[in-house]
Amino acid sequence: MAAVAATNTTGARPERAGRRPPLAWLGTVPFLGYVGVFLLLPTAIVIWNSVRNTTGGFAFANLKVLGNSAVRTYFVGSVELSALSAVIGAVLGAILAYAIAAGNPDGIVRRISLAGSGVLAQFGGVTLAFAFFAALGPTSGFLLHASWYYDFPGGITLIYAYFQIPLMVLVFLPAVDGLKVQWREASESLGGSAWHYWRYVGGPLLAPAFIGATLLLFANALSAYATIQAWENQIAYTVPQQIYIAINSEVGLSNVNYADVLALGMVVLVAIIMTGYALLQRRAARWLR
């Protein structure tokens, strides 16, 4: 008995060198179990429910709801807001990132900008809507009484820019830092102007990173819910707001798990965008070494 036990314990050692017995997999069980219950299961439930009717049978026709003109309005609203805020955030964020990168790499300005971006990119909750309401509220704004504050997508895009720009700085700065000063010098010594440099060297180098980052900002705005809900909770403009209504009202579209179908539509949309982001990021990484 004792001998058997002994060989077992000593026998457990060499496995590190070569064979990996099932024992090694045991270490991942708690993590896999947790992620399974709280991430994979809910996602599976959404997909499963979206193709079933309320009485329990399969109903792939549910998905036709996505083509419904009312539902299309929410998706168009979501895409409109996300695209606008992503492009504005990306362009302005890129300018800010360039200004940061042009300075002293160890300087105080860079450090403050990076730390600030880290905080502000997270600052997307209900408090952000309150801050802008305090600043621009139509009747009580501190800076101005903006009549366009409640315009969609104009007013809310401005609010979204507040977290999109810092996020762009965080994601795009490494790419701008990757531009070597030698490339610029090479361009100048060959007689190239600033325009030539940006048109033929800097621009094409940064393009994949820029487009990738824009996609990330797009997905970020698409999933955002808290800010827009606190900004204007009477009218639903975007898919997340409509999902909220669908969950909370007993009567949705008859016989359809409305919230689940909308959620499935969002998952598909975000998955497409994030795949594009991952591909572009890989392309951009070539020059960042």
């Binding site: 991942t28 992620v35 299961l41 809910p42 502000l120 408090t127 830092d177 808290a226 606190a230 998952v267």
Partner: protein, 285 residues
């Protein structure tokens, strides 16, 4: 939503070395400096003014245009606010601890024993980035409805918050773990007779430097502002309380004072953790 900030965090450190702005032509340098000054001023204003407005409204008296500290006093007296602050802080702490306990041992284990699944593991950890919280909550609602029979305390929201925090904590921790030679450290410890518990918590974890405070900061910043899941599952956390107040009275001063206090607290947390992190790494030399 926020922050894929971890994404950038990793690649940022090796940035500076390639540039040498000093070698630029003088004329271009002057123009560049002007450009930077203009850019920083404009962006600074854009980012500061809403905060200034928040501050002003948090000091607004009962009559418009007057000053008063009542809104700040109301943080303690307004019904529900103080309790919600307590719950929010507790959620942040519990989520931080839970995400570290779940992630750290698994990451170290996979790094040392199962390196071939590291890509799949990374994919799982980053998956919550592509599944919006609003979608997650649609799938969670049936589960939570089932267990609601047993009256689930608000603190149990941390179970979902761990998932939300996963990508950010993973990014931070993997940067720290990749910066050290975990294999050699663990082999040294094991050959001296350490068990796996000692390897993880007394050898590798203390060597990961700022990675752990970073992961905790990102996780708590995320939890402190989380609204979507709490609201839809009908839990009353701080953002939900503020949201409800704003719906009842748009101009309640307590709204602005509490928002600003929450924001300042997050700033402080950032400062504190970066200070602790720097001391940790300096102490080790």
């Amino acid at each position: 939503m926020a922050a894929v900030s971890g994404l950038a965090g990793e690649s940022a450190p090796d940035a500076g070395q390639v540039r040498a702005p000093r070698r630029m032509r003088a004329s271009r340098r002057g123009r560049l400096n002007l450009f930077r000054r203009v850019v920083f001023t404009l962006f600074g204003l854009f980012f500061l003014l809403p905060l200034v407005a928040l501050l002003r409204d948090s000091l607004e008296g009962a009559k418009l245009g007057t000053w008063s500290v009542t809104p700040w006093k109301q943080i303690a007296s307004y019904p529900g606010v103080l309790g919600a602050i307590g719950i929010q802080l507790a959620l942040a702490v519990v989520t931080c601890v839970a995400v570290l306990l779940l992630l750290m041992p698994t990451m170290i284990w996979i790094k040392l024993r199962l390196p071939r699944v590291s890509r799949a593991f990374e994919f799982l950890c980053l998956l919550p980035l592509t599944i919006p919280a609003i979608v997650l909550v649609v799938g969670l609602a049936p589960i939570y409805n089932k267990i609601e029979h047993y009256t689930v305390a608000t603190i149990m929201l941390f179970l979902v918050y761990v998932i939300l925090a996963l990508p950010y904590a993973y990014r931070a921790l993997s940067a720290g773990l990749n910066a050290i030679d975990a294999t050699t450290l663990s082999e040294a410890a094991r050959s001296l007779g350490a068990n796996w518990f000692t390897v993880m918590f007394r050898v590798i974890a203390p060597n990961m430097g700022q990675a752990i405070p970073n992961a905790m900061l990102l996780s708590s910043a995320l939890v402190l502002g989380e609204f979507t899941i709490a609201e839809i599952l009908n839990y009353v956390t701080l953002p939900v309380v503020l949201f409800n107040i704003s719906r009842a009275t748009t101009n309640a001063g307590v709204l602005f004072s509490t928002s600003l206090a929450a924001l300042l607290f997050t700033f402080l947390l950032l400062l504190l953790l970066s200070y602790v992190g720097r001391r940790l790494s300096r102490g080790r030399g």
